[in-house]
C-alpha cells in the first residue's frame, strides 16, 4: 500500500520564489517524509533546510540514543552546507553572516509495516470481532525540532497534533538545527518524538509554522481545517488559498508549505 502525496509551497509576500527557504522531501516508496523551515534571519538557510530534509529521506539517522543519533547525523551535513558556500567571493558582510551559520526546523516522519497493533494483539482481536477496530496497516514515528508540525486525521477527527498542540505555543524562537558543530548538542537533547499507528484512509498533514498556526487556530474554534486543505489539489489553488488567508490576516506572512499524505481506503477494512 502506498499513499498519495501532494506538496505545495508559497513564498513570503515580498520575497521572490528564489528566496523561498522551506523544503519538503519524500521517499519514492512513500515511507519517509520530511519538512523543514530555514530560518529567515540566517543566511543560506534554503540550502540548509534542503540538505537536512533530503538527507532524512536518503540516509536517516541510525538507531542510537536520541541525542547522539542526531548530533552524529548532522556532522557531515554541516560540512556539506559549508562546502557549498562561495566563501572566497563573498563580500565581508555576507561572509560574517554565513560564519554565524544557518538554522532550520525539521519534522521527520517514517512509516514502517505493522507486525502488531498498538492496542496489543488480544485486545484488538476482541475489538475486531466486535467490529470497532480496523487492522493497523502501518506504524509511524515522527521526530521534530522546532515548530514545523504534523497533524494526523482519522475518520474526520484530528487524533494527533505534533509537536505543538495549541496556537499559543508558536514563538519567535523555536529550537533549530544549526550548521555550527557544537551548537546542536543542547537542541538534540530536546528533540521530540511521537509514535502512532496508521490505518487505511488516514490523512497526515505536514506544514511549516505559518500554516500550522492557522490550522490550530481554526481547530480550537471548532472548525475542521483539514477539510479545507484536503480539497487542495494543485499549486494555483494553494496559492489562492494562502493569499486569501493572508489578506484576511489569518495566516502570518511567511514561506508557507504543505505536504498532504493520504493513505488509501481498503475494501473490507471495517469487516
Amino acid at each position: 500500500m502506498e499513499p498519495d502525496v501532494l506538496t505545495f509551497g508559497v513564498s513570503k509576500l515580498g520575497n521572490s520564489a528564489e528566496e523561498y527557504e522551506d523544503a519538503v522531501s519524500s521517499s519514492s516508496e512513500g515511507r519517509r517524509f520530511a519538512i523543514a523551515d530555514g530560518a529567515t534571519q540566517t543566511s543560506f538557510a534554503d540550502r540548509w533546510s534542503q540538505i537536512v530534509s533530503l538527507e532524512f529521506i536518503m540516509n536517516p539517522p541510525s538507531d542510537e540514543p536520541l541525542d547522539k543519533r542526531w548530533t552524529k547525523w548532522l556532522l557531515p551535513l554541516q560540512e556539506a552546507w559549508s562546502s557549498g558556500i562561495p566563501w572566497d567571493t563573498l563580500p565581508w558582510f555576507a561572509a560574517e553572516k554565513a560564519r554565524a551559520g544557518a538554522c532550520t526546523t525539521l519534522l521527520a516522519l517514517e512509516f514502517t509495516p505493522s507486525s502488531t497493533t498498538n492496542d496489543g494483539p488480544g485486545r484488538t482481536l476482541w475489538r475486531r470481532m466486535l467490529g470497532v477496530a480496523k487492522p493497523a496497516a502501518m506504524n509511524w514515528r515522527a521526530e521534530a525540532v522546532g515548530d514545523s508540525c504534523l497533524f494526523h486525521v482519522r475518520d474526520d477527527r484530528l487524533i494527533r497534533s505534533f509537536p505543538l498542540e495549541r496556537p499559543t505555543q508558536f514563538t519567535h524562537s523555536p529550537a533549530l538545527f544549526t550548521t555550527n558543530p557544537g551548537q546542536n548538542a543542547l537542541v538534540c537533547k530536546h528533540i521530540k518524538t511521537l509514535k502512532g499507528d496508521c490505518q487505511p484512509g488516514d490523512l497526515f498533514l505536514l506544514m511549516t509554522d505559518a500554516l500550522a498556526k492557522w490550522f490550530l487556530q481554526r481547530h480550537v474554534v471548532g472548525e475542521k481545517p483539514w477539510q479545507t486543505l484536503r480539497e487542495v489539489n494543485d499549486e494555483m489553488m494553494f496559492n489562492l488559498f494562502v493569499i486569501q488567508q493572508r489578506d484576511e490576516g489569518r495566516i502570518d506572512n511567511d514561506d508557507t508549505t504543505l505536504m498532504i499524505i493520504r493513505w488509501p481506503e481498503q475494501e473490507g477494512a471495517n469487516s
Partner: protein, 278 residues
C-alpha cells in the same frame, strides 16, 4: 499605537543617529582606560552599523530593511558619514554595506561552542570618524532630524516608525532639547510616533542608570530633561530586553545616563533590535 509593523524591503524602517561632536568629547569616557569619548562613540557607531548590515545580510547581498542617517553636531550640524557616503543623509543599508570609508582588522575574542575562547582577527569597517570641536547645538540637531524624517514618515505610512538615537556628553548650548524633541516625537507613521532614545556618556565612573521608569533617581536637571524627552520603550522591545535579563518596568524609557562603553553598546544594540524584522 502598536509598534508592530513588519519590517521588510517593501516596508522599511529607519534609524537616525545624532552624535555630539562638541569639544568636551576629547575627554576620557568612564571605564575605558583613558579612551576619548569621541573615539568610544565612533567605535560604538561603527560596530552598530556593522551589526545592522550583518543582521540584514542574506546570501551574497544585504536586504534594505532600513535607511540610516548619522548626523554630527558640534562646530556644525551636518551628515557625518566619511568616505564614499560623505555628505549623504538617509542611506539605504545596502549602500552602507558596500561603501565603508575603509576596513580595518581588529582582534576579537570569540566564545567557541565548547566553552573555550579564542582570539580572531575580524574585519572592522569604518563609516564614521571621531571628531570633537565646538559647542553642543543639540536643539538644532533634533530639528535636523525632524526635517529629515518629516517627508520620510509621510512616504512610509505603514512602516515601523523611525528610531532616533541621540548620544551626548553634556547639556545643549542652544535652546534644546525640549521644544525640538517634542516636535520630532510628534511625527508618526500609522504604526506609531517617532521614537527618540537619548544616551548620556560620562567621564566620571559613577553607577550608570539605564532605561529608568521614573526620574527621581536621576542626579541632576540635565539628566531629568533628557529623561523627559525620551520615548517610553515599546512593549515588544521591552519584552526582548527582559528576555535577556534586563530589569525593565512597564514605563521604562529609552534613556541611559552616565553610560560607560559597555552600557552604550548595550543601549544601541537594544535600540536597533526588532522582532518585526523579516
Amino acid at each position: 499605537m502598536p509598534y508592530n509593523a513588519e519590517i521588510s524591503r517593501a516596508n522599511p524602517s529607519c534609524f537616525v543617529f545624532l552624535i555630539d561632536q562638541s569639544g568636551s568629547m576629547v575627554n576620557a569616557i568612564a571605564g575605558s582606560d583613558g579612551k576619548r569619548k569621541c573615539d568610544s562613540v565612533a567605535d560604538a557607531i561603527n560596530r552598530l552599523l556593522q551589526n545592522l548590515v550583518v543582521k540584514c545580510a542574506r546570501g551574497e547581498g544585504v536586504r534594505n530593511f532600513y535607511e540610516v542617517a548619522v548626523i554630527g553636531y558640534g562646530e556644525t550640524v551636518s551628515p557625518a558619514f566619511s568616505g564614499p557616503l560623505a555628505g549623504r543623509r538617509l542611506v539605504p543599508l545596502s549602500d552602507i554595506a558596500e561603501s565603508p570609508a575603509r576596513i580595518e582588522e581588529r582582534r576579537r575574542v570569540v566564545e567557541n561552542g565548547d566553552g573555550n575562547r579564542t582570539e580572531h582577527l575580524v574585519k572592522f569597517p569604518i563609516w564614521f570618524e571621531p571628531s570633537a570641536k565646538g559647542l553642543t547645538p543639540m536643539g538644532e540637531a533634533l530639528d535636523g532630524a525632524r526635517t529629515l524624517l518629516e517627508p520620510w514618515v509621510s512616504e512610509h505610512r505603514s512602516s515601523y516608525p523611525p528610531i532616533v538615537i541621540n548620544i551626548s556628553d553634556g547639556a545643549a548650548t542652544d535652546t534644546g532639547p525640549e521644544p525640538q524633541a517634542g516636535s520630532l516625537r510628534q511625527l508618526a507613521t500609522d504604526d506609531g510616533e517617532v521614537l527618540l532614545f537619548n544616551c548620556h556618556i560620562s567621564e566620571n565612573g559613577s553607577e550608570p542608570v539605564a532605561f529608568p521608569a521614573e526620574k527621581k533617581e536621576l542626579p541632576d536637571e540635565f539628566a531629568r530633561t533628557l529623561f523627559d524627552v525620551s520615548s517610553p520603550l515599546p512593549e515588544n522591545l521591552a519584552e526582548q530586553a527582559r528576555a535577556e535579563g534586563l530589569n525593565l518596568e512597564p514605563e521604562s524609557r529609552g534613556f541611559a545616563f552616565n553610560a560607560d562603553l559597555t552600557e552604550l553598546i548595550r543601549f544601541l544594540d537594544l535600540g536597533t533590535r526588532s522582532s518585526q524584522l523579516k
